[in-house]
């Protein structure tokens, strides 16, 4: 693990057990998160990105199990690396990490708060739990945090119930809760998906601002490439449980290699395209069901660069095409090394 890496997922496998049969959900996902950076996990719903993120805090539902792989985490101010996969289930070890060192915010701001407890009660819960402060101090800290995330009249808001909050307000409160113990990693599972577009922008702004101020690293799960462009430093594209391409955002947006990534980017509306009256091209076909998983490269039935006899036979390896950019494809075009600036010039 590099010195500036704070979280590293190595060859993670997660399976769904149903009626005694196992289905792979996540297959060999690996990525690194550098301190203070934002990594976006992108993919269509059901690609395993949420499951991957939930597994980092060992929050998988009963039917899902991590079958192999490592999740290495370096707690702040410590040289010792913890393998989260090895921590006992619901034990002290993982509970100390949750909410304290790694925090998480969720997609549904409406259902992420219990309707019968006040916002303040639920937000200050983490502070009371991890910082072992008095009730009064927990309140003071929470009010400050609520103020920080832009909730007006935070003192009053503390005693309000979730139903008195709008969706955007709740997501702000959720962020306040997640950040109140000053975690070094924040996992954000589609935090803006359920919000209106204007509120989305506000929440993204808030997250960017808080990152600058507090310096935590973020794993940002989304299916929205527009959001990725706004917030992320690095991006990993997932398809049916595997990362098919990863690298710095700028590089991938400028030079997408995997046919899936290429298609995804084509499906994003851009002002430039509109001017030229270009049509958006949807990706042909749809994601196969979990139970009809294609062999080999799982994208091959929908792929434009499909090579008969190769793609369905085996899973393509991850190939580095530049220092940080790698892609999982058999197509020679996709894996051709990135042309250096001088070559382009000639």
């Amino acid at each position: 693990m590099n010195d500036d890496t704070i979280l590293e997922v190595k060859d993670l496998h997660i399976k769904l057990k149903s009626d005694g049969v196992e289905f792979p959900i996540v297959e060999g996902v690996s990525f690194e998160l550098k301190a203070g950076k934002v990594l976006a996990l992108v993919g269509e719903s059901g690609c395993g990105k949420s499951v991957t993120s939930a597994s980092i805090l060992r929050l998988l539902p009963r039917e899902l199990d991590i079958t192999s792989g490592q999740i290495q985490f370096r707690p702040p101010g410590s040289d010792k690396v913890v393998n989260i996969v090895d921590l006992p289930k619901e034990g002290k070890g993982i509970r100390h990490v949750r909410g304290n060192q790694i925090a998480m915010i969720f997609q549904e701001p409406m259902s992420s708060f219990s309707p019968l407890h006040t916002i303040g009660n639920q937000v200050s819960e983490v502070v009371r739990l991890h910082l072992k402060v008095s009730k009064k101090e927990a309140r003071a800290r929470t009010v400050k945090m609520l103020d920080k995330v832009g909730i007006s009249d935070p003192d009053r808001a503390f005693d309000q119930y979730p139903y008195e909050f709008s969706g955007g307000m709740r997501q702000r409160a959720m962020i306040a809760k997640a950040l109140s113990c000053n975690p070094s990693v924040l996992i954000a599972d589609e935090p803006t998906t359920a919000l209106d577009v204007t509120i989305q922008a506000q929440v993204l702004d808030l997250m960017r601002e808080l990152r600058r101020e507090m310096g935590m690293a973020i794993v940002f799960i989304t299916h929205d490439l527009g959001v990725v462009a706004q917030i992320a430093d690095d991006v990993a594209i997932m398809y049916m449980g595997r990362i098919v391409e990863q690298g710095p955002v700028r590089e991938i947006f400028a030079n997408p290699r995997h046919p899936y990534t290429v298609n995804l980017l084509r499906a994003v509306p851009r002002l430039g395209n509109l001017r030229d009256r270009q049509k958006l091209t949807p990706i042909q076909g749809s994601v196969p069901s979990l139970f009809d998983r294609p062999t080999g490269c799982t994208f091959h039935p929908r792929c434009s660069a499909y090579i008969k006899g190769t793609c369905e036979a085996s899973v393509p390896p991850m190939v580095n095409i530049s220092e940080h950019h790698s892609v999982r494809c058999f197509s020679p075009e996709a894996t051709a090394p990135v042309a250096t600036a001088s070559e382009v010039a000639t």
């Binding site: 149903s18 009626d19 049969v21 719903s45 059901g46 499951v51 929050l59 539902p61 969720f106 979990l290």
Partner: protein, 377 residues
């Protein structure tokens, strides 16, 4: 977080057979119902009860009114294949009973005589009865030649508890059936009016339901049936009791119908039907009713045991059906006294039938509730 659908078929054949997108709503429900193990147990148990009730006449070895003076308050007689010497007999038999006088109490008691066997024979002649009220016959499925057979023992008058229980099953289940049907009709109507028209009608009916539900049911049932004239025939009492049970039991159904209707009223297909000029009753019957039929079935499986238990309780207290009609409650009426019970505990056997029937309905109800929403997980 993704919570995966765990009910998806897992083998290839299953997948090909079950194509949820192609199946009708009822098919989906049936698939789901079948997976509910207890519900299937309930269906089987109930089928057996119904079979016994329907063929009570032929299955019981004698008519329920017949008195066996040689075997008063006699315990159940076991069927044997092995005799006292340990020899195996292909034809099952019961041991003979001889009557003696107790030297102390001078009461007549029946003594088991293991030397004499009364072999069991099939399709024997016995007391005559009317098969389904159609024709007279005296054929019974089985009997003991040379003597008598009382599988569940006899009561103090020497009547066969087995035969009486079967006939009682017929009456009790039919009361439940008629009562539920009545409750269903009243509930569907009231709920339909409340849900479809809303407004004042809804308000009045909802208040009425809340009111009925706030009265403790059993005392109300008791008081109503106590008010029935004493000189009514048993058939009149039967009808009146059924009606009383239905009058108090319709509220659940009405609530379900109302809430579903209120939701469906807002659906586009209702508006579409209205715009194309369908009459109110047509919209309710053709478009809305099928959409919540499944929920009503669930409610019926809840209402049925309630009515069954109510009838049993009423009759048990002597305020419902009365002799000479047989129902589970009427039979249990004889077991009211602890002292009687201590000598003849087999009089409680009809109670076992009550428990089995109610359990079966509860199981089926659980399965039906899960199945009613086939798209849920």
């Amino acid at each position: 977080m993704t919570s995966p659908d765990t009910t998806i078929p897992t083998t290839k054949e299953q997948r090909n057979k079950r194509r949820p997108e192609m199946a009708s709503q009822w098919q989906l429900m049936w698939w789901k119902f079948k997976k509910h193990y207890l519900a299937m147990v309930g269906v089987i148990a109930l089928s057996v009860l119904v079979f016994l009730a329907v063929f009570a006449g032929i299955i019981s070895p004698d008519v329920p009114k017949a008195r066996n003076n040689a075997y008063l308050s006699g315990p159940p007689m076991g069927i044997h294949f092995l005799d006292a010497q340990g020899d195996f007999h292909l034809r099952p038999f019961v041991y003979a009973r001889t009557t003696k006088r107790d030297p102390v109490t001078l009461r007549k008691i029946a003594v088991v005589d293991t030397d004499t066997h009364w072999p069991i024979e099939f399709f024997v002649r016995g007391g005559s009865y009317k098969f389904w009220g159609l024709f007279k016959t005296d054929i019974h499925l089985f009997g003991a030649s040379g003597g008598f057979i009382h599988l569940f023992g006899t009561d103090s008058l020497g009547r066969d508890v087995f035969a009486r229980t079967l006939y009682a099953t017929r009456v009790s289940l039919s009361i439940g059936l008629v009562g539920v049907t009545l409750a269903f009709v009243i509930g569907a109507m009231m709920g339909g009016i409340a849900g479809y028209f809303g407004g004042v009608a809804d308000n009045v009916i909802m208040r009425l339901i809340e009111f009925i539900r706030s009265i403790p049911t059993l005392p109300l049932w008791l008081a109503l049936s106590a008010a029935l004239p004493r000189d009514w025939s048993s058939f009149q009492v039967y009808l009146a009791i059924t009606l009383i049970l239905a009058l108090v039991g319709w509220t659940h159904l009405a609530r379900t119908v109302r809430s579903k209707l209120l939701a469906l009223r807002e659906e586009d297909f209702t508006l579409a039907a209205k715009l194309s000029g369908c009459s109110n009753s047509r919209i309710i019957l053709r478009h809305l009713l099928p959409s919540f039929m499944s929920y009503m079935i669930v409610d019926v499986t809840i209402a049925f045991p309630e009515i069954l238990l109510a009838e049993t309780s009423l009759s048990f207290l002597g305020l419902g059906l009365r002799e000479p009609v047989e129902s589970w409650g009427v039979l249990l009426f004889a077991a009211q006294n602890v002292r009687t019970l201590a000598h003849t505990p087999w009089l409680l056997i009809p109670g076992l039938f009550v428990v089995i029937a109610v359990l079966a309905f509860n199981f089926i109800g659980d399965g039906a509730r899960d199945a009613a929403d086939p798209y849920s997980k």
